[in-house]
Symmetry: C2
Subunit: 310 residues, 2 copies
Amino acid sequence: MKKTHYELIILGSGPAGLAAGLYAARARIDHLLIEKGATGGQILLTDWVDNYPGFPDGLSGFELAEKMEAHARRFGLNTLTANVVSMDLLQPPKRLTLEDGEQLTCNALIICSGARPQLLNIPGEAEFAGKGVSYCATCDGPFYRNMHVAVVGGGNTAVQEASHLTKFASRVTLIHRRDALRATKIIQEKAFANDKIDFIWDSQVTAIEGEKGVERILLRDRGGKETTLAVDGIFILIGVIPNNEMLPLQALKAEHGGFIPTDNETRTAIPGVFAAGDIRSKEVRQIVNAAGEGATAELAAEHYLNNLTL
Amino acid sequence: MKKTHYELIILGSGPAGLAAGLYAARARIDHLLIEKGATGGQILLTDWVDNYPGFPDGLSGFELAEKMEAHARRFGLNTLTANVVSMDLLQPPKRLTLEDGEQLTCNALIICSGARPQLLNIPGEAEFAGKGVSYCATCDGPFYRNMHVAVVGGGNTAVQEASHLTKFASRVTLIHRRDALRATKIIQEKAFANDKIDFIWDSQVTAIEGEKGVERILLRDRGGKETTLAVDGIFILIGVIPNNEMLPLQALKAEHGGFIPTDNETRTAIPGVFAAGDIRSKEVRQIVNAAGEGATAELAAEHYLNNLTL
């Protein structure tokens, strides 16, 4: 008979899910990690990872994902490729429904479904992702020493990161589709006072172009006038979208546009349900803190399972 | 003139401090990492690290510490070897006093001073640390497949980990100095029901012996009777002590025997002061979550500094 019940199910195979999977496999917990597509999550979209501690020379996102997966597999990580479409978490056992109608149950669940950057959805964006198009200034800023970069957005993140990027880039052009920023006053003032930053108002980026990497972007202002701006890179900082379509958001008390709040030990509002990585309601989204939260979540889940039954 | 003020000071050079240092150096924050002794913290006491995600074959604690340090140095980590004896954090700038009387100031502080296991302080304990003597069942349990291990302690951690270790070890002997456990009822009952666990009551371990690794331990009961028990390893799980001697514990609202509570973004009760790694008040103490918290703390400190001054 096909196995359909597990002590622990882990949803997602980014750094948080793989860390949780490593800990679960190594602790010999009866577990299943469900992944939607390729293993690695958003790391796979990252050309080069320079800030995961322990790799002094950096490594490609693909390579880091491979290493994390191989690590968990060495201890017997058990995975299934499937798309979870809904779940019933309020009564035991917790029940997950897959796209093909199959149901799986578990006593504890770790949600590591991640998030994705809000895209501009313009020509060239996907083509140059990781090759001049970036969604994380903390991650990729240092690659643009003495270059000219564009930043798209007008919120706290975009404006703050524009200031941050001037530590590396020789020039930062902030492009905003309105005529005023949304960022808080002090962050705005700091950017206005920085002579390495210039602003293009009331304009949208309509295409990203280049040969091997980003060389220029096309802009259109409110009047429909089109211009070209030569840049070495473009940071698109217009928001992060949680991958939460399959989650019972109300029961999990989702906040800030659908992220899952937890305590310090990754416990959500539902007993036996934990959340780690970018799906968590938090301010800092980095590979290493996702991995750390995955480990924490797995150990918190073990404690929960230990106290559940004799 | 000697520089005595920094935007950010990081206290401690374990995984949390090195991750914070990597992020600070890479973000070109004016920073100083103060370390008391050798770089690496408790990793240096760890013979083999098998659960830091991304190293499928594992690596020595020494090697991981070296890699983490080299990583941060590549981006210009700035360090000082010194012993901080006291600090004044309540008024700006925050002031740290070193053992030689020198004072350093900063606008933001990340405390990564770590913790240390409570030792038995008996012959053989230091000699065989990482060679059969362990203070972390999650980390080292899988190394004892089909072996006989002793666990020392009677609290929740010791008794729960005794049960956990039976997934690997063929036999677990729990040694407690009293005639009853302190662990909560359900954890006790689980251990009592496990026929791979036996108990030695009213006894203390007085020495650890062996050739290249642990081979036997010496026990003395309350009546003074001495016996020898052959084991392949011994887990000493009698508590964790925070390295907090230099911290203003009351202002930081220290709890649970001197650990520092923080919010999810590592902010302590004092604005501009952050805590990451084992010194934090938390349940799960692992290398990867310490590193993750270090990265979070550094980015939270950057946000704090950004909003502090124009």
